[in-house]
Structures are given as structure tokens and as C-alpha cells.
Amino acid sequence: MSLEVTVPNVGESISEVTIAQWLKSDGDVVEMDEVICEMESDKATFELTAEAGGKLSIVAEEGETLEIGGLVCKIDESAAGEGSADTSKEENTDSQAQSQNDNGGNEQEHKSSDSSEGEVVEMNVPTVGESITEVVIASWLKSTGDQVEMDEVIAEIESDKATFELTAEATGVLETIAEEGDTLNIGAPLCKITKNAGGSSASSTQTAAKEDETPNPMPAANNDSYASGHSSPAAAKILAEKGIKAENVNGTGKDGRITKEDALNAKASTAPKAPQKSAEKSAPSPSLKVEGRGQERKRMTPLRKTIAKRLVQVKNETAMLTTFNEVNMQPIMDLRKKYKESFKKKYEVNLGFMSFFTKACCLALQEFPAVNAQIDGDEMVYNEFCDISIAVSAPKGLVVPVIRNAEEMSFDTIEKTIVELATKAKNNKLSIDEMTGGTFTITNGGIFGSMLSTPIINAPQSAILGMHNIVERPMAVNGEVKILPIMYVALSYDHRIIDGRESVGFLVRVKELLEDPSRLLLGI
């Protein structure tokens, strides 16, 4: 079994890295976690460690520039010298194809014999991981009739674990079989590529899929030209700026070209093109929708997609775990009861729990700087300020506006800032600036009744505090059972940068500060 080592995600804006130097040579036997290679991004240099022990076969040479996820090398865990340097170099050329799946074996056979014109290559859903049995076509980046190049990315496919790119297995004309949004089993047919042949009306269009997994076969013989969906220069710029893929825009220009007007009118949620086409042709396309037992399919909004992508990314790329504690909320509740009215009178804002939590976190963050730090390449960035992101549920999805320099704020300023940001969030008025750059996040699942949860870190931050509901629980106090209002708190953190001592210490410190708020005043 040979393990493929790909370029790790090294930072928010970094899309490619260069192999600076190999510390090991092709054929060397390497140990797990041993540094095998130095890489450079435009921001930093970092070391690549072996993900397993075994025999190294280098794919990307020194000086080569690779995209994130690009194939760097392979490690033959059985250490039996079967993978010679030659074969690995060959695979280098389709490293993109490699990076999408862990065992690219089953599709490799299709790639043989390049230019036998007219030959139809059928592409099936590749095996993407051990436990994954089905995938969803997130989007076709190419549509039927398009000329595609071998190894060009033609579709984005989502599994319940990750999104990956599907690359063409041959050069030729694409005919999609599965449609966007379809859920397919591993091995189900995805599309066909008629090698090197052009023309949308390729005869193979008629070859409807035989297998059951193909719920929406593309209707045959459409009027598309090769230029359908091609954006004019001005339209292309507008679409890029709106973040809309040309595939999702219905071109009204000659032969389906996308005009500037089409781009101006395009909305992020524009219905996918393919289904409309099938409707036009009144082709009997069996729908996934089951009559009588309602089920609605909606396209993911770009925000939802981003959220999904980011969350999965964090899960995949950090060493995340969660530590818990419980907080006796009685002292804070007493304090609030006592000063609620006078606070409101003076500051015209309610004294909520958030200001206490924010203040407590700021103090604790200053004492445990690692929790307020983040990883950038192979460097750790320690922030001397506390910019606290507050998770807010907005109409389109979760957003996290930032309270800047919260450590310097008074209780009333924090409360007012939260109200202001939450109002903006509800009206979709938050600017990108207001949502970027936090150093630590607080999320309150308690308002929805959550007892306990393990929040996901808000990357590139390293930790997140989860608040929960306050429930009266019997507690042992000085040998007696007392009923106290208790909140469980959770701290999810990136173990790569924060050790257990710091994370647990941080949470205990937050607990101390909340259970005795006068400490907040004195900073002890």
C-alpha cells in the first residue's frame, strides 16, 4: 500500500507552494514524522514531515510549483521497492487527478491509449475513501458538448466528508450523465468523454446510461454549440466578481453565449442550467423527487457552501479536540439581578451574559497567549490583542462578526457592540471587514437549548469557546447537595499549537472568573 503525500493547506490565501529542497532522496526509507522536504509559499517556508514510514518515491522535483493538494511524493509503506522512480514521475503529470482520491487505481486503466479518436471513455464515481459509499455532484464545471482536456477539472464532487475535484480522464468532448445535485454510489457512471472528437451532436449522446444509478440521463441531441455558456470578456469579469460560475448562468447570446446583460442579471442562486434544458426538450427525465412524500431540493447558497467547505477543512486540517467544564452561574445571575435596572438606565443597553464571558475570555487569553495565537505556515502568530468573534445566526447562515480589542472595552461597550453587530447580521449588512480577522470565537448554543456541544474552530483561529444553556443541577458544595444554575462550557482547540495544560488552564481560568466576577474587576 503506497501512501500519497499531498501539499497541505498552509494558510488562508495560499494557493500554491514551491518545493525548496528535498532532504531525502528518491528511494530512501523514511520514518514517520521525519522531515522529508522543505516547501516555500509566498508567505513562509515550512517543513513537510512523512505521514508514514516507508520507502520514499519523489513525484515533484525541487523547484516545482504545486497547488495545494498537489501530489508531492509517495511513501510505500510496505517498503517493497515496487514503485520505481520512473512510474512515479509519470504520475506526476496527473498529480491533480491523483490528489482527488486516495487510491487512484481503478480509474487509471481508462487513461491508456491517448488519441484513439472517437473512442468513448466512461467515467465512474471514483473510490474516495474507505467509509464513503456515495457522493453528490456539487457542480459541473464543464457541460455537455464542451471540449475537455485530460486532467482538466470538470466537476466538483462532495462526499459527506469532503469536496474534491473530478478531473477528465481523456481529452475529448464531454457528455454528462449525472446531473448537479445527484447522489451517486461509488462506481456509478458520471459522464462520457468522446476522445478528441468535437461537436456537440456526437453520436454517443444517444447512449443513455444503462445503470440504475443514473437518475437523470441527459437528453440527446441538444442544440448546444461549443460556445454555449462562453462568457464575453466583460461578462466573465462580472461573474468572477459575483462569484458565480459561468455554468450556472443561462446565456441568452448567440448559441448560448453569456452576454454582459446575462452576467449583470445573474444571481448567485440562478437555477442550474441543465434541468432547464431538459425541460425545454420535454425529455422524460425521471426526477428524484418522489410524489406524495414531499422532499425539496435546493441548491446550496455560496455562503452555505463556504461554511461547509471551511468547517470540513478545519476538521480535516487541524488537530482539534474539546475540553469541558461547568460553571456555577449563580454569582453572575445575582450580580445581574442587582444592577440590571441601573445598568440599563445609565447605558441604555441590557446587561447580558455575553459581556461577562467576553471579559473573562479576554483576561484568560492574555494569560494563555497560545489560545489567542494562530498557525501561519510553519510559524506561530501570537496576537497581543483580543479580537473576539461572536457567532451569530443570520438569515443566510452562521456569521461571525468581530469585537475588536475587546480586552480594552467596558461591559457596556461590549454589549452595545454585540447588539450593533447582531442587528447588522440579521439585516445582512455586515461587511467582510467586520467578519474577518478575529483571534478567538465565542459561540452560544445555549440560546437554542444546547446542553453540551463540541464547537468547530473558526479558522485560522486556534480555539473556540462554546456556551450552553443554564440548567439547575444538584451540586455538591462543602459536603452538601445544593441546587445551582450550572452552565457547561466547552473549549475546542487546535492541539497543534495549544497544549492540554494551556487549554484546560484557560477554561479553568474562565470558570474562576465567571464564578467570582469580582475577579474580573481586579484582574486576579
Binding site: 500554491e16 509566498d42 468535437g198 454549440s225 461549443y226
Partner: protein, 466 residues
């Protein structure tokens, strides 16, 4: 002083970038080493060479063609100093125009050698030795290129010269030896050949304008031979020496035999190389590649993400309009927009007569890519408009996808080819097919009908006038 963006170099890339930045609301500075704005293109490149090409073309027509038109002239002659003077006034008018555009757009122009002190600090050293330092959030390197030379050639800039000096000769050479059969060599070679000089072009490759479609090079060679240009292809120059007013160029022909050329001027026109001298790249950790070009990513960003580079100083064709596109791209990208450049659709032009212009893939590239293509060609001699003006040399050659009929390349050699190529660029940006063009009305009589006819020929061999 604190700027949002500074552009170092005021050539067509730099000054266009400055205008676009100013349009987008950035506080913009432009730094220029020379006393006039406009860079190579306006001062010692595109504009002055076109001025001389037009002057020499008039003379050539008067000398060779007026009689056939029924125009009689006595005492025809060349007044070289006047020709150069007119060229100089064209240049000064044009560079003054840039001064006006900078004022209009409220761009601060700093004259002097601009360099990086650090990634946000620009130092400008003017020719009086004064230093002016200011900060800039972003910077665009647009320092362009200089004529390249061979290591063994000593440029004395009097008799062994580059294109820069060739634009300022006060007399017509007797025999101008040109090293390099590329665009620059052929344009200036045409100028002096038309004015009566003997011109010899020595080229290392086996064809001239080697980056263009092969047909273009062959046709152009035939046309230039007619005005007296001699070509020595597959000749490797081994030495250049000067004694008094005599220049001797030695070369090896393809059989390895030494050939000697005697002339009074030798112009080295083997290309240009990126120019970054004195820019202080080392202070900001920006590296250059083997050819001295600044390395940039797909957003034209250097390794410092607030420093960009455009035009001749980075990879790609050394063309003014390529630099302009990149200038606009960077300005818009820096402003948070998402522009794009289709590098395959940047046209290449040679201002000889006939002119050569080209966009998209060459036939050689399509063969190499293994693309199934078809060709359509139409000769200008079959065109009424061309016969009326006696500009019957050349052809339009169209390459289209065999299956889809999409235009993949358009190559024109003929009258006004440089202007005609615009139609091909637009068509190809919209991915038009050959038949699309063939079905669009082209005014009659015009040179552009040749484009329509070539597309008809490519469609189903349906050209009407051959």
C-alpha cells in the same frame, strides 16, 4: 508623502496602470527615470519607428509607384535630418500628451531613478542628485526592457548600434547589416531599404519572424526581398568589428563556413531583455528568473504581495498592448476587482509593408497540440480594394477547429493588417466560428473583405472571389 500605489516606469504599461489606478480612486504616484514620459514605446520604440516607417513609405511610393499612378515628380530626394526632426516632433507631442493625462488624473509624477528601500518605501534619485523618499501601500514595477546584445559584440552606438540609435541616423546608410530577423530588425530594415540603403538581415533561425505562423514569415521574406533586403538565414554571427566607418560582421553559415559582411552600420536586433537595474529588488527580496525577468504569480504579484510587475519586465510577449492590459489588470485587481487577461488573444503585429498581424494559435502550434484544424486563405490580389491601391501582396489565413469551426488563429499579411486583426480578436474573444464571420456583412470595397473570404474558404471552401 503617502501613496496608495506607485508605478515605477511610465511606458504604456506604467502610465496606463497609473490612469486606471487614479480612475479607481487611488492616490497614485508615477516614477520615471528619463525626462520624458512614455517609456520605450513612445520615445524609442513603437511611435518613432512608425513615424519613420510612414515617412519612408511615402518616399518609397513616390519613388517607385507614383509614376504608375500617373503622378510625375522631378528632383525627388531624401532629407534625412528633416525626417528625423518630424519623427522627434511626433514623439514630443505624444509624450506631452502623457504629461497632460497625468495632470488630468491627478497623478503625481516623480522624475528620477525609483528604487525600493523596503516594501513600502520608494526612493527617487533625480539627475541633480536629490533624493525624495515616500511611502506607498502598493507598487507596480513597470520598468520595461532594454535591447539585448550578444556577449562578444561591443556596441559603440555610432556604427554598431541598437534600434534606439537607428531611429536617429542623420544619413541613409550605404549598407546596413542587421543581426536578427525579428520584428524590430525587419521594421527598421524596411525603413532604410525603402530610403535606398542596402540591407542585409542575418538570422540564426531558418525563418524570419520565427514566433509567427510560418506562412507569414515566408510571404514577408518574399515581399522584403522585392525592396532589396537580403536575407541570410541559419547564419550564426561570430564577430563584429569596426574600423573607421567600416563595420565587418562575420558569421557561420549552416555548413559551418565563415561568411563576411562589410557595411557602414550594424544594428543588433536580437530581442530585448527585462530591465531592473538600480531598482533595489534585493531590498525587498524579489528575485528574477534566468532571463532577468521579475517572477510573478497569476495575479502578477511578486513574492511581496503588495508589489506587482507588468509588461516587458515579466514573462510573456514584449508588446506595448500586453503591458497595457496588465496595467489595467493590476490596477483593478489591487482595487479588489476580478479582471482577467486572455493571453492567447493578444495580437502580434509587424509594421513592415505589407504589414503582418496575427492572433491565436499558429498552424505549427496546432500541429504540435494535435488539434484537428482546417485552414482557409484568401490572397489580397483577388480583392478589388487591394488592386485599386496596388497593395496586392499578402493573404489572410484563417485556422479553425475541424469539428466545431471555432476560429483558433488568424494570420494576416497585407495592407492594414495591423488594423484588420482587431476583428479577429473580437471574434475570438466571443469564440466565433469561421462561418460566423463569413455570415457578417463586410463593407465593400475594403481590405477586411479578405477576412470574410478567408473565413468562407475555411468554412466549406466557399470563397466567392477566387
Amino acid at each position: 508623502m503617502k501613496y496608495d500605489i506607485t508605478i515605477i516606469g511610465s511606458g504604456p504599461g506604467g502610465y496606463v496602470a497609473a490612469i486606471r489606478c487614479a480612475q479607481l480612486g487611488m492616490k497614485t504616484a508615477l516614477v520615471e527615470k528619463y525626462s520624458t514620459l512614455g517609456g520605450t514605446c513612445l520615445n524609442v520604440g513603437c511611435i518613432p519607428s512608425k513615424a519613420l516607417l510612414d515617412s519612408s513609405e511615402h518616399y518609397h511610393n513616390a519613388h517607385k509607384r507614383f509614376e504608375e499612378h500617373g503622378i510625375k515628380i522631378n528632383d525627388l530626394g531624401v532629407d534625412m535630418p528633416q525626417m528625423i526632426k518630424r519623427k522627434d516632433s511626433v514623439v514630443s507631442q505624444t509624450t506631452a500628451g502623457i504629461d497632460y493625462l497625468m495632470k488630468k488624473n491627478k497623478i503625481d509624477v516623480h522624475h528620477g531613478l525609483g528604487s525600493f528601500q523596503d516594501k513600502n518605501t520608494i526612493k527617487v534619485l533625480n539627475d541633480k542628485g536629490e533624493v525624495n523618499t515616500f511611502t506607498s501601500a502598493k507598487t507596480i514595477i513597470a520598468t520595461g526592457s532594454k535591447p539585448a546584445n550578444l556577449p562578444f559584440i561591443e556596441l559603440d552606438k555610432e556604427r554598431v548600434i541598437t534600434s534606439t540609435e537607428a531611429l536617429n541616423l542623420q544619413k541613409v546608410p550605404d549598407h546596413l547589416i542587421i543581426i536578427g530577423g525579428g520584428v524590430i530588425g525587419l521594421e527598421l530594415g524596411s525603413v532604410y531599404a525603402r530610403l535606398g540603403a542596402k540591407v542585409s538581415v542575418i538570422e540564426y533561425m531558418d525563418n524570419i519572424i520565427p514566433t509567427m505562423d510560418r506562412t507569414m514569415g515566408k510571404d514577408l521574406q518574399r515581399s522584403l526581398k522585392k525592396i532589396g533586403v537580403k536575407f541570410y538565414l541559419q547564419h550564426k554571427v561570430t564577430g563584429v568589428s569596426r574600423s573607421e566607418d567600416q563595420v565587418t560582421v562575420t558569421a557561420e553559415d549552416k555548413k559551418g563556413q565563415t561568411v563576411e559582411f562589410l557595411g557602414d552600420y550594424c544594428m543588433v536586433a536580437i530581442g530585448r531583455k527585462a530591465y531592473t537595474e538600480g531598482l533595489g529588488l534585493e531590498n525587498v527580496g524579489i528575485t528574477t528568473d534566468k532571463q532577468g525577468r521579475v517572477e510573478v504569480n497569476e495575479h502578477l504579484q511578486t513574492s511581496q504581495d503588495n508589489i506587482f510587475a507588468i509588461g516587458d519586465v515579466i514573462k510573456g510577449a514584449m508588446l506595448a498592448h500586453k503591458a497595457e492590459e496588465e496595467g489595467v489588470y493590476v490596477a483593478e485587481y489591487a482595487a479588489g476587482q476580478k479582471p482577467h487577461i486572455n493571453y492567447n488573444l493578444i495580437p502580434g503585429v509587424v509594421y513592415t509593408w505589407p504589414e503582418v498581424a496575427s492572433v491565436g494559435y499558429t498552424e505549427e502550434q496546432l500541429k504540435e497540440k494535435g488539434t484537428a484544424y482546417k485552414t482557409g486563405a484568401f490572397p489580397f490580389k483577388a480583392l478589388g480594394r487591394a488592386r485599386a491601391s496596388m497593395d496586392i501582396e499578402g493573404q489572410v489565413k484563417v485556422l479553425a477547429d475541424k469539428q466545431t469551426d471555432e476560429l483558433l488563429g488568424v494570420h494576416i499579411i497585407g495592407p492594414r493588417a495591423a488594423d484588420m486583426i482587431a476583428e479577429a480578436v473580437i471574434a475570438m474573444e466571443y469564440r466565433a466560428s469561421a462561418e460566423d464571420i463569413a455570415r457578417m456583412s463586410h463593407a465593400h470595397p475594403t481590405y477586411t473583405e479578405a477576412m470574410k473570404e478567408a473565413c468562407l474558404a475555411a468554412t466549406e471552401d466557399r470563397a466567392l472571389h477566387v
